[in-house]
């Protein structure tokens, strides 16, 4: 059974129809990377999975369970952890409270990380643990956004541009983290602009264009597909 199985997904923001029938599936323990140009609909795909867009249509199965009609919080409890593009750090909460905010998910199948493990991975956060979340720098906020879903026991992580705006060292640390997580059996769906960051991590690539999947291939075919990929991603 696939961890995530999406069939003919349509999504709207108000009256504008953004996703036009996305199909994709991710096996447990795999890393899937969504590529595409700005505005192609990758973020929308992740948001649609979480039920955060306007209207949705089609089928999204999480560990086999249909979620298209569920409210967002019920979907999350099936074991999904979402790290949004705009980071979503809470200004009224301290760093620590931000970290502790997401509850243990009833359907999460992964072993939650402890706070100590997290602070070890992101020492910046340990240092700023008592300051308000949005007083962190842009990059620190990004770390916090990733860190806080690791505590919940979510086993499917939806990561939107997590390397955006981060210093190279941190980006490298994140890459190592994802490799580790994958080894621990996490299922990961990543949206990345930074191909160099994503390329070595992914098991499977999907290219989205105008709300549709225009290419889908495993990492093994990457070299073969490179030319097509360049064409799809360049202008």
């Amino acid at each position: 059974m696939n961890a995530l199985e999406i069939r003919d997904l349509h999504a709207w923001y108000g009256e504008s129809h953004i996703l036009h029938g996305i199909n994709m599936s991710v096996q447990r323990g795999q890393v899937l990377t969504l590529l595409g140009r700005n505005g192609a609909g990758r973020t929308t795909t992740l948001r649609a999975i979480m039920g955060l867009t306007g209207r949705r249509q089609g089928s999204i199965r999480v560990h086999g369970e249909e979620t298209i009609a569920l409210p967002t919080h019920r979907i999350a409890h099936l074991g999904l952890g979402y790290c949004p593009e705009e980071r979503g750090i809470f200004a009224s909460l301290t760093t620590e409270e931000n970290l502790r905010l997401p509850p243990r998910l009833s359907g999460g199948r992964a072993t939650p990380m402890t706070e100590a493990q997290i602070y070890e991975m992101f020492p910046n956060l340990a240092e700023r643990r008592n300051s308000p979340g949005t007083r962190l720098s842009g990059g620190e906020q990004q770390m916090l956004a990733v860190a806080r879903i690791l505590r919940t026991g979510a086993d499917i992580l939806l990561l939107d541009e997590i390397s955006e705006g981060l210093a190279p060292v941190i980006v490298q640390a994140l890459a190592r983290m994802i490799t580790t997580l994958k080894a621990q059996g996490f299922t990961i769906v990543m949206v990345e602009q930074n191909f160099r960051f994503a390329a070595p991590l992914a098991d499977h690539f999907i290219v989205v264009e105008h709300g549709e999947v225009v290419a889908s291939f495993p990492a093994s075919e990457l070299a073969a597909q490179q030319a097509k990929l360049d064409e799809l991603l360049s202008v």
């Binding site: 140009r37 700005n38 505005g39 910046n124 700023r128 300051s131 007083r135 962190l136 720098s137 842009g138 990059g139 620190e140 990004q142 770390m143 390397s163 955006e164 705006g165 981060l166 210093a167 190279p168 060292v169 941190i170 980006v171 490298q172 602009q193 930074n194 160099r196 991603l233 360049s234 202008v235």
Partner: protein, 256 residues
């Protein structure tokens, strides 16, 4: 006039016991493109806020053209020709593209307090506005609402508005953040073009951009200057490698 357009001496800023910027001595030479880089949270945006007095420095001095401007208000500093852009794009969304730039030019007409005048007086600025828009390839979009522009174009509009102020020193905070490759190249070229005859101080994470256009680079880390020099020097600096660029620095590829 001195070689230096901007100089800071021991600039520092504390936030409730946390020191975000600490004893920074920055020297920006006239006519250069000077990049400020550093890990996240190093204090780059804070530095910009101090230079333009959007934040009050806790210690230190700021000199512009040799004059101490530490005590001046943001608008005064802007009128001296120090114009900034923002990390998050800053346009006037409900004004048209043309009006956005014209607001910048309008200050020089001295009519800004004239509430009894019509707009006809401002129309004579339109030719200059269009020339500026031409420079950033926005001429065709002059009558659109700024809020309807795509992200990359908004950044370009911002630069055009900044240009309208005839700035002696432009402060650009991450001008390429959140852009696709095409836009990054376009904006890089644009900066290079508009930098002629003026000074640019920019914060940037994209090492490709920095390496192609920056004449001089200051690396901040934990609020203070870690290293300074041109790209070749800085990228070899061991402390910089450790704190910022990491092992892949040789690839000349940053976060983008």
């Amino acid at each position: 006039m001195s070689e230096l357009i901007l100089e800071t001496r021991g600039l520092g800023k504390d936030f409730k016991g946390f020191t975000a910027v600490d004893g920074v001595n920055l020297q920006v030479a006239r006519g250069a493109i000077h990049a400020l880089i550093g890990p996240n949270g190093a204090g780059k945006t804070t530095c910009f806020n101090l230079l333009t007095k959007f934040l009050e420095p806790t210690r230190g001095q700021i000199l512009f053209n040799g004059v101490d401007i530490t005590g001046e208000r943001p608008a005064e500093i802007a009128r001296r020709g120090v114009i900034r852009s923002f990390q998050i794009s800053a346009v006037f969304p409900h004004l048209t593209v043309l009006e956005n730039v014209r607001i910048g030019l309008q200050r020089f007409t001295g009519t800004s307090f004239h509430f009894w005048k019509g707009l006809t007086g401002l129309k004579q600025l339109d030719a200059r506005v269009l020339a500026l828009l031409e420079l950033v390839d926005l001429r065709e979009m002059a009558s659109l609402k700024a809020g309807d522009l795509p992200y990359g174009r908004k950044r370009a509009l911002e630069i055009a508005t900044t240009m309208a102020m005839e700035p002696a020193l432009m402060l650009l905070d991450e001008p390429t953040q959140g852009m696709g490759h095409e836009d990054v190249d376009r904006v890089t070229a644009l900066i290079k073009r508009v930098a002629e005859g003026r000074t640019v101080l920019m914060v940037e994470h994209n090492m490709k951009v920095v390496s192609t256009i920056a004449d001089r680079i200051t690396v901040l880390a934990r609020g203070s200057v870690l290293a300074e020099g041109d790209y070749a020097e800085v990228s070899r600096h061991p402390a910089v490698l450790e704190a910022y660029m990491g092992t892949e620095a040789t690839e000349l590829q940053g976060a983008h």
